[in-house]
């Protein structure tokens, strides 16, 4: 039983990313952005019978129960998704699974990140804690990586980039072009964190190297924000004001740490994307917009190859031969990507889904990709570990 076309996104809620949210609670932000999505779908809270959330500071456990209570939802399906940056795409996948299997009809998907400015002035977290800030004792990570300073994500993507350069070759200019194109897009999106701040290849290459070979402007900037979606059945989507039909879903996970990944330069995206395209029954060349997780420039380069848009090892050439701007021949991350829209925790990954949905709905205003019928989304969790691909089609 395929999920193809059984569910659709009909509501979008999203906060404009900000550097900080003084005093806000993640719980409150999740609820507010959820209400925005429900309103955007022209629904009432009582219409929602499923909920998918991330676990968050105020509810490291019982997150779904906390959210349904707070929002006043009677949920026939309530769960948490833990796929790092792929969580947003994974939420949509799970919502579609629950709907297509008949468990429920309309699912609210929630992501949010708050950020206090004091976190910027002192140690953000002590080593030995996970990305979420929780202590993670007795894990291979805390035992065999943390003692070596292998903490966070920058180092891992830098090692991917160096290995890629060794195996295939890509120039710093080619990688920089990705960041420049996304910034161009962000300059057409008033909600982007870096709206009004265009950059050049020289700016990227002149920004400080943080972890060789990655420059500051090739690395996402953490910020605060929130994003939510309403996913419903195809039956109900027919009555909706706007809809993005979920045509294809594919997932693949092979590792937690990049040290033990089967490959540094070929990611689990290949399998995830192949599954999504197979389910959707569409070809790569049918895709009008690609919304690809971009925590770093190297992430985009490898994703373009592994998702099947560029040849393996040909990512640099692909970047040279194509215009990745929203008005170019290969529109990529029209919202600016997380590199220029902002990475508000897991809402950053969700922004690739909200943008793809907006684009196929024809609601992307000044950055609308022309004749946009089909979107490819890829969510990437951890260090090229958890991959979720989606294919969305213009519904109504």
């Amino acid at each position: 039983m395929s999920m193809r076309g059984k569910a659709a996104i009909i509501g979008i809620g999203e906060f404009k990313p900000t550097r900080y949210t003084e005093g806000a609670t993640t719980l409150g932000m999740l609820a507010e952005v959820g209400r925005l999505a429900i309103a955007d779908a022209s629904l009432e809270t009582g219409d929602i019978d499923g909920l998918v959330t991330e676990s968050f500071a105020e509810a490291p456990m019982f997150a779904p129960a906390t959210m349904v209570e707070y929002l006043g939802i009677d949920a026939k399906f309530a769960e948490v998704v833990d796929h790092g940056g792929a969580t947003g795409a994974g939420m949509v996948a799970r919502a579609a699974m629950a709907i297509s299997s008949g468990l429920c009809e309309t699912v609210l998907c929630l992501t949010a990140a708050r950020r206090e400015s004091r976190s910027n002035s002192g140690p953000k977290r002590s080593a030995g804690t996970g990305w979420s800030g929780r202590r993670v004792d007795r894990t291979p990570y805390s035992e065999f990586e943390v003692p070596y300073g292998a903490i966070g994500a920058n180092f891992g993507y830098a090692m991917i980039a160096n290995r890629y350069m060794h195996e295939y070759g890509v120039t710093p200019e080619q990688l920089a072009k990705i960041a420049v194109a996304q910034r161009y897009n962000a300059c057409h999106n008033p909600n982007a964190l870096f709206f009004g701040q265009p950059i050049t290849v020289e700016d990227v290459l002149n920004s400080p190297v943080i972890v060789d070979p990655l420059h500051l402007l090739e690395i996402v900037m953490p910020c605060a924000g929130a994003a939510a979606l309403v996913v419903t059945s195809a039956r109900r989507a027919k009555k909706a004001k706007h809809a993005a039909t979920i045509l294809g879903v594919g997932e693949h996970t092979t590792h937690r740490s990049i040290t033990y990944a089967p490959s540094l330069t070929s990611s689990p995206i290949t399998a995830a994307a192949d599954l999504a395209f197979k389910m959707a029954g569409v070809r790569r060349k049918d895709i009008d917009v690609a919304s690809i997780y971009d925590c770093y420039t190297i992430t985009v380069l490898i994703s373009l190859e592994d998702a099947g848009f560029a040849k393996k090892g040909g990512g640099g050439k692909f970047v040279d031969q194509h215009n990745l701007q929203f008005d170019g021949d290969f529109p990529l991350n029209p919202h600016g990507g997380q590199l220029s829209f902002g990475q508000a925790g897991l809402a950053g990954g969700m922004s690739h889904v909200t943008e793809a949905a907006r684009q196929v709905m024809g609601r992307a205003q000044g950055r609308q990709v022309k004749k946009c019928q089909l979107a490819f989304v890829n969510g990437n969790g951890g260090i090229m570990s958890e991959q979720v691909s989606l294919i969305l089609e213009r519904g109504r």
Partner: protein, 145 residues
């Protein structure tokens, strides 16, 4: 030359240390004796790292501890120009690497004993045991002469 993760006789070691479990203790005990021991599959002969309670290769498999050569090469690396965590502040630039053991498995380590700018993918390495505290010896690597 910067060798950030080596113990300084004068200053206490302030970086996070591994906390061995029942499963991983043979690795750390061996390191303290300046031996590199990892697990090998009895059924397939393949080596595996990190230490596990079960074999990732086959359900009926068992793992045995064996001493390995300590010869390795750089699979990939980065030079941290900014500290990756507060405890490393002041040590930058330092090298974080994925090391490929001659026997196959990959490990995370720092590359010591050479200028960070000299590290390249593929350069040959030899294990180096760094006694960072009286209790803990970290397994690190240096370029092989």
């Amino acid at each position: 030359m910067t060798e950030p993760t080596e113990a300084k006789a004068s200053a206490p070691y302030m970086k996070p240390l591994p906390e061995p479990t029942d499963v991983t203790r043979p690795f750390w005990d061996a390191a303290k004796q300046h031996k590199l021991m990892i697990q090998r599959s009895k059924q397939t002969g393949k080596y595996v790292f990190y230490p596990r309670s079960v074999s990732p290769f086959a359900p009926g498999d068992a793992l045995e501890w064996v001493e390995v050569s300590g010869r390795a090469s750089v699979y990939s690396y980065t030079v941290a120009r900014r500290a990756t965590a507060p405890q490393w502040s002041g040590d930058e630039p330092y090298v974080i690497a994925i090391v490929e053991l001659e026997e196959g498995p990959h490990m995370t380590a720092n590359i010591l004993g050479c200028p960070p700018g000299d590290v390249r993918v593929g350069i040959p390495l030899q294990v180096s045991f760094e006694d960072v505290t009286p209790e803990v010896t970290l397994v690190q690597f240096r370029p092989r002469a």
